[in-house]
């Protein structure tokens, strides 16, 4: 499904950004890269920044003009920071991701266009697009690095895809821990109280707020059985030393 999504870099000037784009794509399960009239390519810097994603560079389509780059796309999304002359359907990356995944699931061919580092996409290129995507950035410094913009889009697409398709593995959440019972927590608190009195740390006649505070502390700690055992082992040792 993700194979229906093509990343298209228009006239990228830094080969490092091409390599970083390949890596960002592969991290997020994308593989189809098109380069329109890159300034320097192939280039050692592109390969180095691609890190383990050099297979994406090897299979990249390199063309000399935009019409050739977008020829097979059925849907075009253009990224743009600037407000344009013409009003256009504009989306956040998150909105775009949901639309893109919906289209990709219907086996539509999608292209996402990114402009050159200095100027961004031309008005002409943007006019080819069905939708414009604006990445939210701080007004004081809105200009994103090219490969970072690609990363954000690919990340949103991948997040949406895994949200939708449980067949793609999610990061495992490992909350299979063995939480202590209320009884075990009560035992720990009583053990603490007994030890505190023995130590002279707490006056049983005037306990102040010590016990409620400890109960709260232990309770919010969501202690596991093992942890209760460690703490009780410690208290046992304290009592042993006090008694000798």
């Amino acid at each position: 499904m993700l194979k229906n999504i093509q990343i298209i870099l228009c006239e990228p000037s830094h080969p490092g950004n091409i390599g970083a784009t390949a890596r960002a794509m592969k991290n997020m399960g994308l593989s189809a890269l098109t380069l329109v009239s890159p300034e320097r390519y192939p280039d050692a810097e592109a390969t180095s920044r691609a890190s383990g994603a050099d297979n994406i560079l090897e299979h990249a389509t390199v063309v000399t003009d935009l019409p050739a780059g977008i020829a097979t796309c059925q849907w075009l999304f253009g990224t743009s920071a600037r407000t344009r002359e013409f009003p256009w359907p504009q989306m956040t990356p998150r909105q775009a991701a949901s639309k893109i995944i919906e289209l990709a699931q219907g086996n539509q061919k999608i292209g996402i266009l990114f402009g050159p580092e200095r100027a961004g996409l031309s008005n002409e290129a943007l006019q080819h697009c069905d939708y414009h995507i604006a990445i939210p950035t701080h007004p004081d410094y809105p200009s994103l690095n090219l490969s970072q913009a690609v990363q954000i889009l690919c990340y949103e697409i991948y997040c949406y895809a895994i949200e939708l398709q449980t067949s793609l593995p999610l990061p495992t959440n490992n909350h299979n821990f063995d939480k202590a019972t209320q009884e075990e927590m009560g035992g720990l608190l009583a053990h603490f109280e007994e030890t505190a009195v023995k130590l002279g740390f707490m006056d049983p006649e005037h306990p102040k707020k010590l016990l409620p505070r400890l109960r709260r502390l232990f309770s919010k700690s969501q202690l596991e059985k093992d942890e209760v055992n460690i703490l009780r082992g410690f208290l046992k040792q304290v009592q042993r030393v006090v008694d000798t």
Copy 2:
């Protein structure tokens, strides 16, 4: 509000990633950068990749070890791709962003830790953290470039911050409590260790997993300053009794 959020790079080896991190931060309205023991810094490549964000590099805090880097943080988030030995509260970047913004609004000091390029955060560093963040990536190629990982987190934080600006204020959460700093937590752990050795509860030559387990326990307990004081008062009394 965003000024309460600190990006902390642990032992970054490539100066280019430091520069790209500064740019990614500034694009998303963040400014506080801490570098823990960078391999090469300052460096022309960092400045060049920072592009217009060199003011963030100029004001970056450079320290030689992790405890110094996180000393003033009240809440620590650690980014991690790997599944760890110990279960830990784990979040997606989006979940983390919402938590981070909520805390930042309550004027809490937050640190977001990123590990070195090759290995990621050490288990030790992760044990300092209140929460772990796992960026969803494709299992075939999960290793993100460092500055791209920073970009995704900063982007999610900024999106959440602007989403909030346009909506109703959050119900005030109970973050008016005075959470202990990392330095205070470190003091407590050291005090516990010293007492455990004195008691004969821990053999300093064979500490097994006691200290990491305690660090984790204290960290997930989200201790307040008062609670640290209570526990240290208890330990002090134990030592006094052992010494007599």
